[in-house]
Amino acid sequence: MVIVFQSKPSLLAAGVVAGPLEKRSIFSQHFDATYDDERWQMKTNEQGHRKMVEEACEFAMKKAGVKNTDIDYFMGGDLVNQMTPTNFAARDLDIPFIGLFSACATSISSVIVASLLTEIGAANFSLAGASSQHNAVERQFRYPINYGSQKPQTAQWTVTAAGYALIGKHHEEYPSIEAATVGKSVDYGMDDPFHMGAAMAPAAFQTIQSHLEQRNQKIYHYDLILTGDLGQLGLKLLKGMFVESGIKSEELKPLRDAGAEFYGQDETFQSGASGAGCSAAVFFSYVIQQMRAGTYKRVLLVATGALLSPLSFQQGETIPCTAHAIEITMK
């Protein structure tokens, strides 16, 4: 199940942009830009969402000094129906494009596909990433933005952010992708759309465990194992699962969650952040920068996604979840 990349494709550059509320994120200093207008001066939330994707891609291209004509493939996705924001961004970027949907795990599934294209020599450069816009996503999955419903403590806040990475052939100075694990769709019978961390934790557990097993590694081989958006409760559950499987809790130190840390300890956001933009923004800014600075040598990025729709949960279906992982190393 684990994919080992012989050519070790590198993350050459990345662009992360975020909305106004994300200025409160503890990671905000690592972002390339934050905007005061969550619609990016556009008429609708969805148009703003599109603009955000384009800007993130432009930051990534500008940093690497390449133009859209140099890029062979564009891989990405978001959470809006039919992924129109990313599809429309692809229209303006004018790059061969495959839209991917793994819910919030798209930030990694896109990198896996881009790495495979690089590995087989089909691509010199490709853009991969994901995004989410709070208003556009909330209105679709839950209630109107201004509807005064009481969210439980287990709820998470969809992030407004886009993160895209430029993936190319191996380069020693840049973090490189050594291996990847594509996760199964895991369903442990959770059915509360306001408690996504609990639904996603088993998927993250399975993916991490199978990656470690097949790579013959232990948790301590990693400086950081960062999951996408489990939230504070989801991370607790993930750690709980590891403890039950016989791993001591001291060994779980490298285990962290982007969603749980994203907004710090702010109670306004209940259990933490979520959304494809959450994992993408943290992975492609903070993590890459820390690796280039030499803080981390080996990192496992695990993006988690809840594969539900408003229809499926109204019809009483449980929430299947997935988690994809990439192992990144830095010389």
Binding site: N146, G148, G240, E244
Partner: protein, 151 residues
């Protein structure tokens, strides 16, 4: 890990909703909204030609107007997060449901967007309100006809 085992773990980790605190907050905020409603009602009775029976209509519209302002400024959702049912059950909550849907769907145009989605949330309140009123009236009518109670 088995599903049952995981569900056990999930039960242990997930904090129980603070029911008592929620009820207290809902009671206070709900009561405050109703007090404001009573004040508005008295205002209409004293300064205009409305009786207790007829002051209801202008009071309801005024409270909905307040809810509209608060919703538009994004404050009602904050009250809602604090108060829960306290701000959802009074008529201002109904107004909030209608108005938030209208703001939300403005980007899809006036007819298909606002018009089509205005009662997205409040529609079931209207429907079940009318249906239950019909059945309550029917039951009372039957009871009166049999002679158990009088109007």
């Amino acid at each position: 890990m088995e599903k049952e085992q995981y569900q056990q773990l999930e039960q242990n980790v997930t904090p129980k909703p603070p029911y008592f605190k929620n009820v207290a907050k809902a009671f206070l905020v709900g009561g405050l909204i109703c007090t404001i409603g009573q004040a508005v009602s008295l205002f209409y009775i004293i300064f205009f030609d409305f009786t207790e029976a007829t002051a209801g209509n202008p009071t309801v519209s005024t409270i909905i107007f307040f809810a509209m302002i608060l919703t538009g400024f994004g404050l009602y959702k904050k009250i809602g997060q604090f108060a829960g049912a306290g701000s959802a059950v009074p008529v201002s909550g109904f107004g909030n449901a209608v108005i938030s849907a209208a703001i939300e769907h403005r980007s899809e145009g006036l007819v298909l967007g606002v018009g089509g989605n205005l009662f997205k949330l409040a529609g079931s309140v209207v429907l079940f309100g009318v249906v239950s009123a019909f059945f309550v009236a029917l039951i009372k009518y039957i009871l009166v006809t049999i002679g158990v109670v009088s109007w």
